[in-house]
């Protein structure tokens, strides 16, 4: 048996712990925090050191029908010819590999000097979500956010004085990247009530070779995997009042769920507004989200982010040729914003299949819809007529929830605490694996399957998670079939 000989540490008191509680290092504290609260309902979890190639548990396969590999790339119905043209221009830019300036292709140059990836689609393959790398490998569709304790002038994360708010691990020739990033995995075994075991994994990012001086000892970090790009316009079109009504910050109804808005800086509005996009709902609009990603991930300036990202002590970076000022024209930013606004969300598949109907019922019984709200209605005032008055099924309330210490990154982002995350929409969940290979669920891509993602739920999701872990296998399979159908 491949796992038999590799157990090294057990962190539960009385279970053979080899470390005295008073001598835990920081890493152990995190692990300990993550395991507290897990052994409920007879579920046991042990920290293991397993081969990183340990196979993930498999979810129930959904019905064997041909998959539309372009399912995340379709526009909403009814685009006019002019809208279709803009949609296609936006698609072209989202798929564009950007070029270092100067270039003959001066409409797509300006990459860097510091950057993470060449193209939007590097982290959002076919508009889907990114994935986490193998043990010891460099992240290819994720990044590491950094900051130091405190806030910036608008209440957001306080940038590191040299490295800013994101580690750019790539640089144009002649410029030093900010660091080398590698991910390593720690494996944990979870035993469910009926005896089934699953291997969970927790990422550990290793930053080495700092390009511009040492990192602070109190550096705050957060690993973020690329999120799906489809359906974002539809989410924008949900009236703020609808989401406000879903808030329950003080848990007055006593259901243990207390969603709330993040309050973030709106660059265009020049004021604090509710956050909607990003893992911690730290971006208020699609345009600001896109401009931020262009700047942070690809080093492309726009009118919203007109300054190149460079360490203050690196003239080689600051003296690099630019691809224009700004490098992304307003028209290009508009086209990308339009494209993402007009991307349809995939339809649920086989909703009437008996197992999927049963799974839907279990989803409800476990209490999942308290955060993963199945149905929302878009408003009548959406800028794009095709998005108005639609009944959509994102399975999200788009609000922040405390997900417990196991998922906490310890890095506050505006009003979102280190353990709060925005409920990620579930639509398209099952298609992702078929379209995008090995997806990475949750903010750092640690979960390889929906089962793993559920088992990482803590905090406000603890009860639902425990109920899942205690449910009979047939019910778990039905739930997973339902999730895969979305």
């Amino acid at each position: 048996m491949r796992y038999r000989h590799v157990v090294r540490h057990r962190l539960f008191p009385g279970s053979g712990c080899t470390h005295r509680p008073g001598h835990m290092n920081g890493r152990m504290k995190v692990l300990m925090a993550a395991t507290i609260g897990l052994p409920v309902l007879g579920v046991a979890m042990a920290l293991l050191s397993l081969p990183s190639s340990a196979p993930p548990s498999t979810d129930v396969a959904h019905p064997d029908t041909p998959v539309d590999r372009a399912a995340f790339e379709h526009p909403v119905e009814g685009l006019t010819d002019a809208q279709r043209t803009e949609f296609l221009e936006g698609r072209s830019l989202v798929g564009q590999s950007w070029v270092i300036a100067p270039s003959l292709d001066d409409d797509v140059d300006g990459l860097g000097p510091l950057y993470n990836r060449l193209a939007c689609e590097s982290c959002h393959d076919r508009n889907g979500r990114g994935s986490a790398p193998a043990d010891g490998a460099a992240p290819r569709s994720m990044l590491v956010r950094v900051s130091i304790p405190g806030h910036d002038a608008h209440g957001g994360p306080r940038p590191h004085p040299i490295y800013g708010t994101q580690i750019e691990d790539q640089a144009v020739p002649g410029v030093t990247p900010e660091a080398r990033v590698r991910l390593h995995w720690e494996n944990l075994l979870v035993t469910l009530k009926d005896g089934e075991t699953l291997v969970l994994r927790r990422p550990q990012a290793v930053l080495s070779n700092p390009g511009h001086g040492p990192f602070n000892a109190d550096l705050l970090t957060s690993i973020r995997v690329g999120q799906p790009l489809y359906g974002l316009g539809l989410l924008t079109a949900v009236p703020e009042a609808t989401l406000k009504a879903l808030q329950d910050p003080d848990d007055r109804n006593g259901d243990g769920i207390s969603g709330r808005f993040n309050q973030v800086w709106g660059m265009a509005a020049r004021q604090t507004v509710r956050g909607l996009f990003g893992w911690k709902a730290n971006e208020p609009t699609l345009r600001q989200q896109i401009a931020g990603a262009l700047s942070g991930d690809m080093g492309l300036t726009s009118f919203l982010n007109p300054v190149e990202v460079c360490p203050p002590n690196d003239p080689a970076c600051r003296n690099q040729p630019t691809g224009g000022q700004p490098e992304i024209s307003a028209a290009q930013l508009d086209a990308m914003t339009f494209y993402l606004s007009a991307l349809e969300a995939p339809e649920p598949r086989h909703p009437d299949a008996p197992q999927i109907r049963a799974g839907s019922e279990i989803f409800r019984n476990l209490g999942c819809p308290a955060c993963h709200v199945p149905t929302l209605k878009t408003g009548s005032e959406a800028p794009l007529p095709q998005l108005r008055d639609r009944t959509i099924h994102p399975y999200s309330d788009l609000l922040l929830h405390d997900m417990g210490p196991g998922l906490a990154d310890g890095r506050p982002d505006y009003d979102a605490s280190g353990s709060e995350w925005r409920t990620p929409p579930l639509w398209g969940l099952g298609l992702q694996e078929e379209i995008g290979g090995s997806p990475g669920y949750l903010h750092d891509g640690r979960a390889r399957t929906a089962s793993e993602a559920i088992l990482w739920h803590g905090g406000e999701g603890q009860n639902a998670r425990d109920a899942f872990a205690a449910a009979p296998r047939s019910q778990r399979e039905a739930l997973l079939a339902f999730l895969n159908s979305l």
């Binding site: 539309d68 590999s97 990459l111 393959d125 010891g136 390593h184 550990q204």
Partner: protein, 463 residues
């Protein structure tokens, strides 16, 4: 020059050798283990959730690769390479082929180790400048020619990665709905039934479109080739530089057939598009290459990368439904997806196709296509429609009209004489003298086209 820690290749290679004769010596895994050991022992690497200073010890190797491949291909290849070689970081630089040469051979090029691209003109130029290292390839595993068609440098300074042919992609549902006959070859798309139902990418706007034009002109010859191309263009809607794909147009029912490269069509089909891809009698195959720059700063890492890209495992990755590229490695074809034709074994590869000859006509052919068939598209379309009607009526004017409409107004010799000029223009490196020569050439060609069109007008007036 930095040295990589000597190490064993970590990727199992089921087909044995990657095809490169000289492989790195099997050495220790020390370099790989250093990171793991540092982690395990709490060495000064900054890990998230812990406090510490970053390491300044071992410097990992960074391999710089320039490419024009899309992210869908590079990300999969680089991910797999880094999984096999975690001690090597890969930095990708992206340039379109027409923009690559000044960078590769300029000061920035000193940081580039590998050039990896479907860019035969760039590779030819690099070979001519002797800017690439010999690779020592085992051609029993990795062919560099098929039949009489050379695919790579005979001295092995380039290695073929994959090949791509063009063909017709059709939308069977559109054909059924509009009662369009299923085409057996390109000539069928020139019939009157196909008016406005063909999508044709324009070579000066769509990079890959040079291939279909060049292959037709080589296979049929200059005059007969243009005869077919002019008739196709008359029935076509042009795909220009921009954002839509031929497969989009067909999937959305805007046309019944398009000329495109095999991988575009096959990837769309694998993605669920209701289309079908059909090779043509003129289909030849264009190679994509990889090469190591002589100035490479990381030659050992570069060699490992080339070795990986040519390995059986990487070659099979080219079949991914989002790629549907055609590997050069015959052994990879044992896992080809159903329905994908293997040009390495089928007869179609026997279509003669000389890459040098193609490159020597490319820019001038594209210029003629623009000046003749794009600029006068409307007039020519109407004239061809009239011709079809006259031929149906067996009008005696028809043969002369057909001759005029399908005869290229510029001879092959004349086009060849201006090839270098048009190439320099394409690459934005013309001199003042070049500008004057280009203007003169264009005026000369336009006059010939005008003469041809006037002849067409006279014939039409006489009908």
């Amino acid at each position: 020059m930095s040295q990589l820690p000597a190490r064993k290749p970590l990727l199992p290679n089921p087909a044995g050798s990657s095809g490169l004769r000289s492989r790195p010596a099997p050495l220790s895994r020390r370099g790989l283990l250093q990171t793991s050991a540092a982690l395990a022992l709490g060495a000064p690497l900054l890990t998230i959730g812990t406090k510490g200073q970053a390491a300044t010890g071992t410097t990992p190797s960074t391999l710089t690769v320039m490419t024009s491949y899309p992210n869908t291909l590079t990300s999969r290849m680089v991910d797999a390479f880094q999984k096999a070689h975690p001690d090597i970081s890969v930095s990708l630089l992206w340039r379109m082929p027409h923009d690559a040469m000044p960078v590769v051979t300029g000061p920035e090029g000193r940081e580039i180790d590998v050039y990896w691209s479907p860019a035969p003109a760039v590779f030819r130029a690099l070979v001519r400048q002797d800017a690439l290292q010999p690779l020592s390839i085992d051609h029993s595993v990795l062919p560099n020619r098929i039949g009489d068609n050379w695919l790579a440098d005979p001295k092995d300074r380039t290695a073929v990665i994959e090949i791509a042919g063009y063909g017709m992609v059709i939308a069977p549902k559109v054909l059924a709905a509009r009662n369009l006959p299923r085409p057996a070859d390109l000539d069928d798309l020139t019939s009157t039934a196909w008016e406005g139902q063909v999508i044709l990418p324009v070579p000066s706007h769509v990079g890959y479109a040079h291939a279909w034009l060049g292959m037709i002109l080589q296979h049929r010859g200059w005059d007969k080739g243009w005869t077919l191309v002019s008739a196709l263009a008359a029935n076509a809607r042009f795909l220009l530089h921009g954002s839509t794909f031929a497969t989009d147009e067909l999937s959305e029912g805007r046309a019944g057939a398009a000329i495109t490269m095999d991988f575009f069509a096959n990837a769309a089909i694998a993605g669920g598009a209701p289309l079908e891809f059909l090779p043509t009698a003129s289909t030849g195959y264009m190679p994509a290459h990889i090469g190591i720059l002589r100035s490479a700063q990381h030659p050992e890492a570069a060699k490992l990368f080339v070795d990986f890209v040519l390995s059986d495992a990487a070659q099979k990755m080219l079949f991914h439904p989002d790629l549907r590229k055609l590997p050069i490695r015959p052994s990879a074809w044992t896992q080809a997806p159903a329905g994908l034709r293997n040009p390495l074994t089928s007869s179609e590869i026997k279509v003669p196709f000389n890459i040098d000859r193609f490159l020597d006509r490319r820019a001038s052919s594209a210029a003629l296509f623009d000046l003749w068939l794009v600029e006068h598209h409307d007039a020519l379309g109407k004239a061809w429609a009239t011709l079809h009607a006259l031929e149906l009526a067996r009008d005696k004017t028809a043969p002369a009209l057909r001759t005029l409409l399908s005869t290229p107004p510029v001879s092959e010799q004349k086009a060849a004489a201006s090839q270098d000029l048009f190439t320099r223009e394409q690459e934005h490196r013309t001199t003042t003298e070049d500008e004057a020569a280009l203007a003169s050439t264009r005026a000369d060609w336009k006059a010939a086209i005008e003469t041809s069109l006037q002849g067409v007008s006279r014939l039409l007036e006489a009908v």
